[in-house]
């Protein structure tokens, strides 16, 4: 392999990485797939650009759209041969949302997740409502109430602010 070829390969790879990293999540378009932590890897094998993503939840209905968006955007950028792979391991964690992603969520009125629980030993049954320390993304008040642990997408819980009375969504810790 010549030095020129290696340099060209490295250039293509870094260009493909930045294209893939700029594709946004179909359900939370303020986040890129990189910010959300679902973009796991971009690599070149032979002539094929292989992009690896991981689902947030098992039933995440956005996976097909993410795959299509990645393929379209990379093809538009001149990469003809693109393959999107799904990686199930390690399982996605809300801890993988980047600091930039957390800021983008808050800017758009969605409360970012706290630290994900780490289970050592059996998962403890919790019969009391989950208490999170979080602030209303609109008015900043910490006087908030959980409406439901399940929201409009698999990854969100529903809250309302007791001060400004607005409802808001919170990305669940997982």
């Amino acid at each position: 392999m010549t030095i020129e070829y290696k340099t060209e390969l490295a250039g293509s790879l870094s260009r493909a990485r930045s294209v893939a990293a700029s594709v946004t999540d179909p359900e939370m378009p303020m986040l890129t797939l990189e910010d959300l932590g679902v973009l796991r890897d971009v690599e070149i094998v032979g002539d094929t650009m292989i992009v690896t993503i991981t689902p947030t939840y098992s039933g995440c209905p956005a996976m097909a759209t993410m795959r299509d968006d990645l393929v379209h955007r990379l093809r538009d950028a001149g990469f003809a041969d693109v393959e999107v792979r799904v990686s199930l391991h390690p399982a996605w964690s809300s801890d993988w949302i980047t600091p930039r992603g957390r800021e983008a969520l808050a800017e758009h009125g969605i409360s970012p997740p706290g630290a994900a629980p780490h289970h050592a030993g059996p998962v403890v049954l919790s019969l009391l409502p989950i208490r999170r320390t979080l602030d209303c993304p609109r008015c900043g008040s910490s006087d908030v109430a959980l409406t439901s642990e399940f929201g409009p997408t698999a990854c969100k819980a529903l809250y309302r602010c007791v001060s400004c009375l607005e409802p808001f969504e919170h990305v669940k810790e997982i």
Partner: protein
Amino acid sequence: MDMNTPDPSHLPDDASVYDEGLLVSDDSQWAFGTDFEDPLAGVDTTVPDGVDTHELAIYCLMLADDALVMSHRLSQWCSNAPDLEEDIALANIALDLLGQARLLLARAAAADPSVVPALPDGSPVPPEDALAFFRGDREFRNVRLVEADNGDFAMTIARLLLFSTWRLALFERLAASRDHVLSAVAVKGVKEMTYHRDYAGRWFLTLARGTDESRRRLVAGLEATWPLHAELFTTHRAELVTSESGVGVDPAAVADEVDVLLEQVFSMSGVDRPEVAPLAGVRGETGRDGLHTEAFSRLLAEMQVVARAHPMGSW
């Protein structure tokens, strides 16, 4: 133009990020019209050494069918739940389980393609759909607990508590499976089902400690569900064989743990463990053997009718 219809060209400068993505969108933004994807695309589905591929496939079908049928029952609450929040919660739980079912059906098909029903030549139906929509009732391996009618909200909560406590305990062990697809599905499932079990447990407690009527309904729902509880811990051959080869979990091994957890909920709720006899099988056969109740045939008819009418259909 109707005065009430917003004109997108007049959106203010600070319009939401959703506007462009969701309101003014090309078709590729929508799941409809795009091909079904293989949920295991790009995942290494090699079967570990020393594992019987047929028994592994049957085991995957058992776990998949439990999730698929439970998901279908829960989704029947859509637009029927007591309030909007519970409607959304039950639909979310159904979606998580449907995701698990898709992965497990695809894993079954990859482990042993002979379990997938034959379709006409050229049919575009992928193996996971062929398994979900083109098998008859005798070929489904789910436990009978998941197929019973929903009953009221209290009965649905009682069943969800039994189901999610049991399945979470199984998946906590399945995370150590030598089959890395099963292991990955289990690790993810544990995170999801922790929310499901907590949800069911909290509603169980709330209904039990609520009004006389909510308590009456909960106790009745638990008693109606309980005859199908024992079957969850009865070991079937495929479960035994796969647990011996380190890929599956013997459900009998989680019986004590599940019992302790349920006791915790029952005692906090002031509800007695029901004393109702288990529902018998036929000649010893139950759900895992493909022997189901009448409610299951009606469920399957509804779930499968459209797919079966269009075996060459592309969705």
